[in-house]
């Protein structure tokens, strides 16, 4: 069952069992974004509190499978305290390891952006999610929260 071990790494199961930054933030001042996977009904709610181009606080809500929820939890740790630009770079680097182009939650390609730089981004624990690659139907679960992040940052940038 080597395949399953690649998918359900200990670090992933740990984030699933004990999700980090779980909860909500008052909106405003925080920004709320939500994404659904219509195939399986998973949803991820992302609360971002921005402070001058920096993500000052993150909370995650929603329900779903281990991969969607663990990935969102890991994302919350990775982007906490980062600038929008850094968060975008992490987002891009993460999606690169799943080798899919940067898309918004409607599946629209929003451009891979100025790549190259993100080779330097260290993904740390997030690397564990690469095992999802072997299970193509689960890639949508792994990227659900990240697509919400793309949309949320776009909205925050435009206001």
């Amino acid at each position: 069952m080597s395949g399953l071990e690649d998918l359900y790494r200990e670090i992933i199961l740990d984030h699933y069992r004990s999700p980090r930054n779980r909860g909500d933030l008052p909106c405003p001042p925080a920004h709320k974004g939500e994404g659904f996977n219509p195939l399986c009904g998973d949803d991820v709610v992302l609360y971002l509190l921005a402070d001058g181009g920096v993500i000052a606080d993150v909370k995650i809500g929603g329900n779903g499978c281990s991969i969607s929820q663990a990935s969102a939890s890991m994302m919350s740790c990775a982007i906490m305290g980062k600038t929008f630009a850094e968060a975008r770079a992490i987002n891009e680097a993460f999606k690169n390891i799943l080798s899919i182009p940067d898309v918004d939650s409607n599946g629209q390609d929003v451009g891979a952006g100025e790549t190259g730089a993100n080779q330097e981004v260290s993904l740390g624990d997030l690397q564990a999610l690469q095992g999802v690659m072997k299970f193509p139907v689960r890639i949508k679960c792994a990227t659900l929260g990240w697509n919400v992040l793309t949309d949320s940052l776009d909205e925050l940038d435009s206001c």
């Binding site: 069952m1 399953l4 359900y8 399986c40 009904g41 949803d43 499978c65 991969i67 689960r138 679960c141």
Partner: protein
């Protein structure tokens, strides 16, 4: 050959077949699922090094060799458009497709061949009813009664029409026993123009009392639309005793191909209804001023039909009739009882089955296993070659009532065996080792 000649030829053929059919024996011959498996090429496959255990027949069934062969025979030997030309293979194609219509008529006990309308699937059949009958007969503010068990295909078309006509959609609730709660049926039926109900739930396996509901609806002058997508493949279907006015189902869930479905409707109603889609095949005459629609059933079959699929569906009906629908129903009842007992005995309170615990029920077993998400359950089962579906099963209003975002669903058919159920239980126990 004209369409009418083709139908007559097909009729003569069926009459001959009818004459040679031995009288139905009162006790169905018991069915051997393990033996039937050999008829289905796909079921000999291995997945992840293990024999496939296919438990997703409510989504789509596997196809027996005879169906696949009938379809390739059409392409190999008599591929031609139907109802259009006088040459030999075109006549053969026309005769074979009309023969398939006859087979379906007999299979569901319809009185008239022209009541059998071929569509793309059950979804298109239901959309046909809503668009043609609904648009003609429903006025602003009219009430439609649905059940909470419905598949999206028997909900969304009504929502779409409602956006134009401001229909009042009412819902028959589902009780704690997973049966329709009919205690307020009289009130719910008050002033209702149409009742749209499923004959077998694709999520819970519930078998609503369609004929009783239809009788009550008819007393109020309402028309009854029945989604028999799960019912027709698994139970003896006799449209006369079912009592509905329209019945929809899909070929691909009854051992037939995808791309073909059936709408049966009472002839009097179908005759009054305007065409749904326009184009070739569905007209008698067209001028610069207008058109004259064709007679039934072709009035509702615009464009070149799915010819190979009609032939394939005919072969599927032959296959199911050969095994015997009574035997299939009895076998599935036994197997679903075995499955429920096996899962309960092995997992106790760790498993919750959303569906009637005993009594007659269909072969869909939706369950929650511990607090493991259904998506993860199905992923782990897949590693053991066990195919089950996870999700909302296109029944979101029902899922909301169950308080579940998603469920895992194992669904049975004639080729499943007790060993398949044992494999499911065994694979499920592995999920505990990971979570």
């Amino acid at each position: 050959m004209t369409t009418t000649d083709a139908a007559a030829a097909a009729d003569a053929h069926t009459a001959a077949a009818d004459a040679h059919t031995p009288a139905a024996s009162p006790v169905p011959a018991p069915l051997d699922g393990a033996k039937l498996k050999a008829d289905f090429p796909l079921l000999t496959r291995e997945i992840n090094g293990q024999p496939i255990v296919y438990l997703d027949s409510a989504a789509t069934s596997q196809k027996p060799h005879s169906v696949i062969a009938a379809m390739s025979d059409y392409y190999d030997r008599y591929n031609a458009n139907v109802h259009r030309s006088a040459y030999f293979i075109a006549e053969q194609a026309t005769t074979q497709t009309e023969l398939a219509r006859q087979k379906v008529r007999r299979f569901i006990g319809a009185a008239h061949t022209e009541e059998i309308i071929f569509t793309k699937n059950a979804t298109e059949a239901l959309n046909l009813v809503v668009n043609s009958w609904g648009r003609t007969n429903l006025a602003n503010g009219d009430a439609v009664l649905l059940s909470l068990l419905e598949h999206h295909s028997n909900i969304v078309p009504w929502h779409i029409l409602s956006a134009e006509r401001n229909l009042e959609l009412r819902w028959i609730p589902v009780g704690d026993d997973f049966q329709l709660d009919l205690s307020n049926l009289d009130e719910l039926l008050e002033g209702v123009k149409v009742v749209a109900i499923s004959a077998m739930s694709n999520v819970l396996g519930t078998l609503p009392p369609v004929s009783a509901i239809a009788e009550a609806a008819h007393e109020r002058g309402a028309v009854v639309v029945c989604d028999a997508c799960q019912f027709v493949p698994n139970r003896v279907c006799d449209v006369a005793s079912l009592g509905a006015d329209f019945v929809a189902f899909s070929g691909h869930k009854m051992c037939g191909p995808t791309g073909i479905g059936v709408l049966w409707g009472r002839r009097e109603l179908l005759e009054e209804m305007p065409p749904f889609l326009g184009g070739g095949e569905m007209i008698l005459d067209v001028s610069t001023e207008g058109f004259l629609p064709n007679t039934l059933p072709w009035k509702f079959e615009a464009g070149t039909p799915p010819i190979a699929e009609m032939v394939g569906l005919g072969a599927a009906v032959d296959y199911l009739s050969g095994v015997g629908m009574e035997a299939i129903a009895a076998y599935e009842e036994d197997l679903v009882a075995y499955a429920q007992k096996t899962l309960k005995d092995k997992f106790g309170d760790d498993i919750a089955i959303h569906g009637p615990a005993d009594g007659p029920r269909g072969g869909s077993i939706s369950f929650a296993y511990r607090d493991i998400h259904p998506h993860d359950v199905s992923q782990i089962l897949d590693q053991y070659g066990v195919c089950v579906r996870a999700g909302h099963h296109c029944a979101k209003p029902l899922m909301k009532h169950l308080g579940a975002q998603a469920t895992a669903r194992a669904s049975l058919y004639l080729y499943n065996t007790r060993e398949d159920i044992d494999c499911l239980a065994e694979a499920l126990s592995k999920a505990s080792e990971i979570f």
